[in-house]
Each structure stands twice: as C-alpha cells, then as structure tokens.
C-alpha cells in the first residue's frame, strides 16, 4: 500500500512516469528487473481489483464518479490498464523465484474474478498466445484467460479491433491471428 501511495504522490510529476519509476535508473537500481516487474505487476493487478474502482464497471453508471475523479481515486488507472500486461510479460522473461509465481497467480485470479467480462466468448485462444504464457501451465484457466487478454491487446494494437471493442469484420484480412474469417 505504501508503495502505491508513494508512486502516485505528486512529486513524480506526470502519470506516465509513475510506476516506470520503479524500473528506472533514478531509483538507483533499487530493485532488479525481475523483482521490479513482479512488484509493478502486483501493484497494477491489486489496484485494478480495488472496490473503489467498482463505480467504473457496472452498466448503469452510478453517480459520484466525478467526485471520485477530483478525489484522485483513479490516478493510477491509466497506467495499470495500459501496462499491467507488459509487467507480467517482463516478469516472465526473467528468472523467476518459485514463491513469486504464487503471488502473481493469486492477484491475477482475483482480477479475473472481479473484472472478468461476461460477454467474452470462451473460444480457445491461439496456440501462439498460449505458448507465450507457458509459465502459467500449472493454472490452465489463468493461462487461457491471459492468452485471450494478450490476443485482444495485440489485435487492438494493430488496428483489428475498433473503438467499440468489436472486430471489424470487413478488415478481417488484416489479421492472420484469427483463423475463422
């Protein structure tokens, strides 16, 4: 908790810099990279499961969001939504202590429980993405969810998925990732 407040406090300046601070030279290499990715991923995942963020999720929007905005409830939202996957991947790239896996599993499990999408169709993600998350083999459900999330993010980044989150079927040719066009 302290870490999160530390990160989001004002003196670090722009939100884009928050969080990245952990990995940068400014922190005097306080953490090694694997450790840094682990901690950053955990911060993102934990933050995204906060109940104070619940107002952003249900369909019928609740009042009070504006108040929360001014209160600073969402200062870390942009960063964690956009970067949590990078930190998970960063953690996977490095040598991982066994016990760190358990904490990631727990945090991810909670995130998918709390923020999972009911609209998501459970079709199996492509093997490319499954393979990318091989360290999650012991948790097949998590591995599948992560692979789907990564596949979605990749699709979004290369222009496959339009603003409303749907694949643009006219442009299906753009993606060899999806087989059934």
């Amino acid at each position: 908790m302290l870490l999160l407040f530390y990160l989001t406090s004002d003196y670090l300046g722009r939100p884009a810099n928050r969080g990245r601070y952990l990995l940068d030279e400014q922190s005097n290499h306080f953490m090694n990279l694997a450790d840094a990715h682990l901690k950053a991923a955990l911060v993102c995942l934990t933050y995204l499961s906060y109940s104070s963020l619940d107002t952003l999720f249900p369909e019928t929007e609740v009042s009070g969001i504006d108040g929360q905005i001014l209160g600073g409830d969402f200062v870390f939202l942009e960063y964690s939504v956009l970067e949590y996957m990078e930190h998970i991947k960063g953690w996977m790239r490095h040598k991982r202590p066994q016990d760190s896996a358990e904490t990631i599993f727990a945090a991810l499990g909670r995130l998918f429980d709390d923020r999972g999408s009911a609209a998501f169709d459970q079709s199996a993600p492509s093997e490319v993405f499954m393979g990318e998350f091989a360290p999650f083999q012991s948790q097949p459900a998590l591995q599948r969810s992560l692979a789907s999330a990564a596949s979605f993010l990749t699709g979004a980044r290369i222009g496959m998925i339009e603003v409303d989150g749907e694949y643009n079927d006219n442009d299906c040719w753009k993606l060899g990732l999806r087989q059934s066009c």
Binding site: D66, G116, G165, K174
Partner: protein, 506 residues
C-alpha cells in the same frame, strides 16, 4: 466486493472489462473539466492537471498512439480524430480501400497506381467464362504462366481461381511462387490470401513457407502496396528476414527513400526498428540505402528533401558513415555529394575489398571524374591500397592502388584521363602491384608513357616475368617504333614521345 461486470464490456474477445472501464473514466474526466479557455478560480482543471497530468484528452481508436499518449486540449484531440476519418475511397469496389479509404488524394493516387496498375493487355481478352470443353492447356507452359499472371496482376480473384483450379494452368511450384510475388506487388490481400493458402507448400508450413512470405513482403514493399504489406506482416512475414542474395524487406523499404512508407510500417503495422543493426552475416549493412536505384536521376535538392523524411527511421550510425561506398558504386555524383555532406567517411567502408575511391574510378565519363574529385577533396587517401586475393592460391594476396585499377581499365580512353588526374594529385605509381607492368602486359602504350612521365619504375620487381619479356611489350615497342630501353630513356629525359600504330603502318 465481488462485482462481475455483466455487460459493460461489449467486446466478446476481451476477457477483461478494463478497457471499457477506462473509457468510462475518460468520459467522466473530460466531463469534469471546464469548457472555458480561461480557467476561473473555482474551476477544477488545476486539480485535474495535478492528478491526471496535462494530456487528458485521448483518441478512442485502440490502435492509435494517441489512445495512450493523449492531447492537452479537447480541440487538439478533435483535430486528430479527423485524421482517422479517411474520406478518399478507392473507386474499385472489390478493393479493401473502397471502404477504408485514404487520408489524402495523394495517398489514393499512389495506391491506385501501385495496386491497380492496368496492363497493356487487358485480361478480358482472355475468355474464360464459356470455356467448358475448350482447354487452355494447349498453350506453352510459359504462356500459361503469363495468362494467369495477367489475371493476378489485375486482381481478378475469380479468374485466377478458375484458371488454376478448373483449367489447371501453371500449377507447378515455381509458377505458384511467382504468382505470389506478383500478387504481393500488384494485387489485393484477398487474392494473396487465396494464393498463399492454396500454395502446395502451405500444407507443411515449415521454413520454406516463411521464406515465401518474406519474399512476398519484399515484393509488396518494392511496389509500396500498403494493404499487402500490412497483411503479410500480420500473417507472420519477418521484415528482418535475411533472404540473401536479395535484400531483407526492411532494407528494401529503406531503399525506397520514402518517409511515408516507413511511417506506415512503424505506426500502422507496428514494425519495431532494431536499435542496433544485425551483424553483417545476418543482414546486409544499412549503408545499402545509398545504393538505391530509385534516385537515379534525382538532383541534390531532391535527395535532401527525401532524406529529410527518411531520416527519423535511419537509426544506425553505420548507415551514415559507410554510405559513401554505395553512393560511389551507384555512379551518381549528387548522391555521393550528399552522403559526404551528412558525414560519410571518404576512406572507410564496411565492405571488405573496396573503397569509395575504387568504386568511383570504375564509372566512366564525367560522372566518374566528378566523383573522384569530390572524394579527393573530402580527404580520400589517393594512395590507399586494396587487397587482391588470388582465387586459386588464396594465400597469395597482393595490394593494389586505385591507379593500378585505372591502368588496367578498358573502354573509352582506357582510363587515361582518370590516370592523369590521379597522377597530378600525387598518386604514387610505384605502390603495390605495378601499374606500369599491368599496362605493358595489356599493350596500353599511351598509359605506359603517362606512367613513365610521372616517375613509374621501368623495371618493377616481384613479378613472375621481367617486364621486357611480356607479350604486350611488342605492341608498345611497335607503337613508339623504338626498343624498350630507348623508350624509357627518352621519356625520362623529358621528351614527349609521339607514337601511333597508324603512322607506323604508313
């Protein structure tokens, strides 16, 4: 605590609802800010800036970089969104850009030219509709290939399918390979997809198949066929592929000298340029962008203008440093001048066995002379030696100078003008393999005279034969109508020895 978002995530492909939550947040964040340009004392904008940073207005397109980076004002964001509305549609109804469109008329015309080039022979001249019974297989194999390729180039998917599946034309492996390259260059992703999927090699997608994709990517890049480039990249073509002897797709893209193309690759296709260029055995040097055939008639101004657009994507110092050699090789003085201006090294090169000066003397006429002058002015070492390896006995290596290369060159005036230029600039005629020996060997009498005038040693050592035993010596002696010792003595004494075979004949 446990709230499962039922329907807020509209995407059936995203297992999480984070993106829609972020959208909700951003909408409210924009709503919270005041609309006035001048912020009052009670306005929340200062607090918002403090909490959420100055760039709080984002693009809604997930693939756009501004989705992440955002804009400081609503006006700037709205202006940016305009760029996404592509109003210049391709008139061809079966083209993907008929719906997607382009941002400008220029982009559209470039697309039409590269993707829908109409060949001189319209493919409708090949009647395939009522071909039941009539077989086109009577055509010679090469003509079969041309018929199909014509349909491929004109993006006629149905015709191509008919010709290959029904008429069984040109179904061999190499023809299919060739059609894929033509389709990548001229056609649409639909046709390309079909050709790739029905390709015999597609069944066993091994290294050979990837190679096809990489080659196709190179072909698409050469014709700047943007839809196909994007499609091939998404299908797994490797832009860094080392496809010797042809250049890697990335290098082919850079050699277009087209900043827009590079921008498309980086921003729209998500290509990441390597921070460090791969080792020479993995990929040819980035200096090769100066060996481009696309600037053949470009003026210095044109080169400068195009490089200004390309420069943001040329991240590797060796591209600048070693460009001189490729520019000299291309034989274009403006290109060489430009590469020297941006810091190209007039001496060093990343290709063993050659130097910029050596490349420039191989070009004839005034262009060659101009480039030699240019390089010497920039500080090229006129007496630098190059290594020559005996192809039979690889241990027998010898050094030679640029002057030697000129002395053995044929054509035009046989290198006389260039040799004179070099000798006037203090080229040493007695360095490395003797240029005089080489000139005598080839019977180049005027060259022999020139070299002797500038102090070449008349009896160079280290050769297998002595110089007067050479076969060409007879021609030299006949030319000047005097024995060798006499020739050497008179020229060294300063006499301007006249010679000529015609006069002798009289």
């Amino acid at each position: 605590m446990l709230i499962v978002a039922e329907t807020t995530g509209p995407s059936t492909h995203d297992p999480l609802t984070l993106r829609s939550a972020l959208a909700v947040f951003r909408r409210h964040l924009e709503g919270t800010a005041c609309v006035d340009a001048v912020h009052g004392a009670a306005c929340p904008c200062q607090i918002l800036g403090k909490l959420y940073g100055p760039r709080r207005y984002h693009c809604r397109k997930l693939f756009c970089s501004a989705y992440v980076s955002g804009f400081p004002t609503k006006a700037a964001r709205d202006q940016h969104v305009e760029a996404h509305s592509r109003n210049f549609k391709c008139p061809k109804s079966d083209c993907v850009f008929a719906s997607t469109g382009f941002r400008s008329s220029l982009e559209l015309s470039r697309h039409t030219e590269s993707a829908h080039r109409v060949l001189d022979t319209p493919s409708s001249s090949v009647s395939v509709s009522g071909s039941s019974g009539s077989s086109l297989t009577v055509l010679l194999p090469h003509d079969q290939q041309l018929v199909v390729e014509d349909a491929v180039t004109n993006s006629q998917l149905a015709t191509v399918q008919h010709l290959i599946l029904v008429e069984r034309l040109a179904t061999d492996f190499h023809s299919r390979q060739r059609f894929i390259l033509s389709a990548a260059a001229h056609s649409t992703p639909e046709l390309l997809t079909w050709l790739l999927d029905s390709h015999p090699a597609a069944k066993n997608s091994d290294a050979g198949d990837n190679r096809t994709l990489d080659e196709a990517l190179g072909a698409a890049i050469d014709r700047e066929n943007l839809p196909n480039i994007k499609f091939l990249l998404s299908r797994g073509a490797d832009i860094m592929a080392n496809s010797t002897p042809s250049l890697s797709p990335l290098l082919r893209a850079l050699r277009r000298w087209n900043g827009d193309l590079m921008g498309f690759l980086v921003r729209e296709c998500g290509v990441t340029l390597p921070r460090k260029w791969p080792e020479p055995d993995k990929m040819l040097s980035p200096a090769n962008i100066f060996g481009t055939p696309h600037l053949a008639r470009a003026s210095l101004e044109e080169i400068k203008r195009r490089f200004a657009a390309l420069k943001p994507y040329v991240l590797w110092p060796e591209a600048y440093k070693f460009g001189t050699c490729r520019a000299a090789e291309s034989g274009r003085p403006p290109l060489l001048r430009f590469s020297l201006e941006i810091g190209g090294d007039p001496n060093k090169t990343d290709t063993p066995g050659t130097t910029p000066l050596l490349e420039s003397v191989t070009h004839s006429g005034s262009d060659g002379l101009e480039m030699i002058e240019m390089l010497l002015k920039a500080g090229a070492d006129i007496n630098s030696t190059n290594h020559w390896t005996n192809l039979v006995r690889r241990d027998a290596t010898r050094d030679f100078t640029v002057l030697y290369w000129v002395a053995i060159s044929a054509g035009g005036d046989g290198g006389l003008t260039k040799a004179k230029l070099l000798l006037e600039r203090q080229a040493n005629p007695n360095l490395g393999i003797s240029p005089l020996y080489a000139a005598v060997l080839r019977g180049k009498a005027e060259m022999v005279k020139l070299l002797l005038q500038y102090g070449a040693d008349p009896s160079p050592g280290g050769e297998q034969k002595t110089i007067d035993k050479l076969k060409g010596m007879q021609r030299v002696e006949k030319y000047f109508a005097a024995p060798w010792n006499d020739i050497v003595g008179r020229i060294q004494a300063g006499e301007d020895l006249e010679g000529g075979l015609r006069r002798k004949r009289n």
